[in-house]
């Protein structure tokens, strides 16, 4: 354990000056971090925020003097507690890592070694660095588990990573990082992979323990509302440059840069709801399961009005994606029925005729895997035109160009491969492919979850515009309440395979709530830096 008397709050712990990092892509070194200064004092939590590619993880790892394979630090100094890490040798850096500077990764499930027990991994650094004897480290780990409010803190360490839930694993990883009482912890998107209701507990546990031990931290995230709860000070990064830096409350009250303001954008997007009694898709008492044992859908009934957007919200495992598979026929339902335009749909995909297939299209979360990397945009969009509408040759190409226009891409994109498109453009092509079939219903399965905030906003705006133009119906599956607020007319809340609540947006998002809706909505982080504190107080009272 580090010497406690040395831990005077306010002393400079980490100072990075003029840091430049290059990354290798296509055999060329390109700058990822373009000269950043950063100062962190003892006991301070610094938030690093930015979109993907902003260089925030690279910067966080650089604080440990670690560069991922394919990255190299080219200029600048990293001084940690008086020691220049850029000049230190490997052994010195290894001595710091894990013991004085610790790391909490995004996906605890992937970052715990599946072959070793949790306790073994928690105390690993303490043992290998000879910081404390095994027995003491084990006792201390159990104490940390208790402080982080893990269930069965005395025995949970004997379990293997796959035997505990994601939220628990993330807290165990926080315990692991705390094991040697480091001076600094790097949190790299530690709650991004978690459900909102789990996120609250993990955030509270992490904030609590950092305060208890007066540990300095760098908190990396793309979610402004989350960082507002955790950080004393926020740095906004973009393309490897610092955009803006300010204490948290100041930053939230008056962001000075346009880019920072734009990060708020999606949260402000909101469409007025409009009811419609003409039902295009009617799901009645549907059950479905994988392999028959556990019902993944349990007596689900949903009515989808024509030309509107119905948002299906729920956490992972709530059955929302299974619902999409049941509607499309990919997963034949085991009970109930689904009617489309008043006609019953065959349960299995294979029994449906081509025209029915055409009318229901799907857009997936990851355009990277949903688009064939070896096909050009011409063929990706052209294929459904041929298959459903029988268009060929010049007719087909003309239609592809007009579809490209409708997704706001010009005709030069027609000969590109998916790898030559940005993430947002790929998702646009996926949308065009679905539109090509001239469907009545498009099922959107987490279509914006993998995208950055600003791109999300563009995609959502595009979807709304297309709905206005073609009167297409969306069934929009998401876990993100902000997105639901932005685009839906009606909302279906799902939990453990059942529909908890459904109705117009104004009804579902306003009290009185059923208990689960209440929990779900109250767990969505808000921009208010006191949100988490207030929420915990409120929940403690109840």
């Amino acid at each position: 354990m580090a010497n406690d008397t040395k831990r005077v709050k306010g002393d400079i712990l980490l100072e990075i000056k003029g840091l430049k990092i290059d990354g290798k892509s296509d055999d060329q070194w390109k700058p990822i971090i373009k000269g950043i200064d950063l100062t962190l004092r003892r006991g301070e939590v610094l938030g690093l925020i930015g979109e993907s590619g902003a260089g925030k993880s690279t910067l966080g790892l650089a604080a440990m003097a670690f560069a991922r394979p394919g990255c190299r630090i080219t200029a600048g100094t990293i001084v940690f507690d008086g020691m220049d890490l850029t000049a230190a040798d490997e052994a010195q850096k290894r001595g710091l890592r894990g013991s004085r500077i610790a790391y909490v990764a995004q996906s605890a499930a992937a970052s715990f070694n599946p072959a070793h027990r949790i306790l073994e991994q928690t105390i690993e650094t303490a043992i290998t660095h000879n910081i404390m004897p095994r027995e003491k480290a084990e006792t201390d780990a159990r104490d940390l588990y208790k402080r982080l409010q893990l269930p069965n803190p005395d025995t949970i360490g004997t379990r293997f990573p796959h035997q505990v839930s994601g939220g628990q694993l993330q807290r165990a990883m926080t315990a692991m990082s705390m094991s040697c009482r480091p001076d600094l912890i790097i949190f790299d998107e530690p709650t991004t992979a978690l459900d909102v209701t789990t996120q609250v507990e993990v955030l509270a546990a992490m904030r609590n323990i950092v305060e208890q031990f007066n540990t300095a931290a760098i908190y990396i995230t793309h979610d402004l509302a989350v960082v507002a709860q955790m950080a004393h000070r926020i740095m906004v990064l973009r393309y490897g440059n610092l955009v803006e830096e300010a204490p948290t409350r100041e930053m939230l009250k008056q962001p000075t840069q346009d880019y920072t303001k734009s990060l708020w954008a999606v949260r402000k997007l909101e469409k007025p709801e409009s009811p419609n009694s003409d039902i295009v898709l009617s799901i009645n008492h549907v059950d479905a399961s994988y392999g028959g044992k556990v019902k993944v859908l349990d007596d689900v009934s949903v009515q989808v009005p024509r030309g509107r957007t119905v948002a299906v919200v729920g956490e992972s495992g709530s059955g929302k994606s299974t619902l999409a598979r049941a509607i499309t026929g990919l997963l034949p339902i085991s009970a109930g029925d689904i009617s489309f335009n008043g006609k019953k749909l065959s349960r299995a995909l294979i029994d449906r005729d081509r025209d029915t297939l055409r009318r229901i299209q799907m857009i997936y979360q990851s355009a990277d895997t949903a688009l064939n990397p070896r096909q050009r945009v011409r063929d990706i969009i052209g294929r459904p035109l041929e298959f459903y509408l029988g268009l060929k040759g010049a007719d087909r190409d003309r239609k592809v160009v007009s579809l490209l226009e409708s997704i706001e891409l010009d005709e030069t994109y027609i000969d590109r491969f998916p790898s030559e498109l940005s993430g947002g453009q790929k998702q646009r092509v996926s949308i065009a492919r679905a539109l090509a079939a001239e469907p009545e219903l498009i099922i959107c399965d987490e279509v914006t979850s993998a995208l950055d905030q600003i791109v999300q906003e563009e995609i959502l705006k595009l979807l709304m515009k297309l709905q206005k133009d073609t009167n297409v119906t969306y069934l929009f599956i998401t876990h993100d309440i902000a997105t639901v607020r932005a685009i839906s007319d009606e909302i279906v809340v799902m939990h453990k395979g059942k529909v908890v609540q459904q109705g117009l947006k104004s009804k579902v998002l306003n009290p009185p709530y059923p208990a689960y809706t209440e929990l779900l909505l109250s767990s969505v982080p808000e921009m208010d830096p006191d949100w988490l504190t207030n929420l915990l107080k409120k929940r403690a009272k109840a």
Partner: protein
Amino acid sequence: MNLVLKTVLQRLGLGLITLFAVSIIIFSSLQMLPGGYAQNILGQGATPETVKNFNHELGLDRPATVRYVEWIGNAVRGDFGNSYSGTTGTIKRSVSAIIGPRLFNTFFLASMAAIIAVPLSLALGLLAALYRNSWYDRIINSVTLTTIAMPEFFIAYILVFVFAVKLRWFSPLSTVGEHTPFLEHIYRAALPALTMTLVIVAHMMRMTRASVLNLLSSPYIEMAQLKGASKAYVILRHALPNAWAPIATVVAFNLAYLVVGVVVVEVVYVYPGIGQMMVDAVSSRDMPVVQACALIFAATYITLNLLADIISITTNPRLLHPK
């Protein structure tokens, strides 16, 4: 643990079914061989009459299904019948008596090669992973690739030339008998064991290297590095425990080869193993011996693969410790 036991029993059952299917394939494909023991032994001048009598004596004039059932029924009880060629007049030699010492020699040689080759290739593979893209890595890769690319007999002759002819450390002939003392046996089998080691090391070593390297981009490996673990520690403690399954599969495959694929090496060193005997038995159409050998080979493959499966299961905590 229950789950593991269940899986192992399942695999064992599956292995037995496979063995049974293989026995049918062996038996029926041997029926398709042109000629027979009678024609072979009696020569070109044999009259159909004598061939017929001869076959009758051996019971070969009965239908194939009857003979198969009789053979497999006895084989299950450990009786592989009598060798045709070992039978003169009333003296019969059982297949087991003929195969036994030969089989011992083959397993002796295979074990020797395995004891050298498996630890060697694991160590070389791990070192290659640790120092990947270094000079060591490149040299070890090209050397092992060269040895695997050369035919076994060629390697054998080179070893004979160097160690037997030039240096005179070993005898070029590895003749052993039933009464050869243990250490003497090891000494005589050294060159063939070394030959086989050179042949199989490359495959196992490259698989070890590849499966370990394959894991090095995993987040938990990066996490281990960020916890201040050294390179060697990361590979041994964090990568290797997750790499056993593919390594075990390749090791099993190569060990099976040591038993069933060594006839060339045996011939070069005149080592009295089972491979050479099987080739002789095929050419003289001594079916009981051929069938027994083939069945032993099949059983070897199945057992070793079963072992590899068990290793894969027991090194996977998801299976060993279910939720």
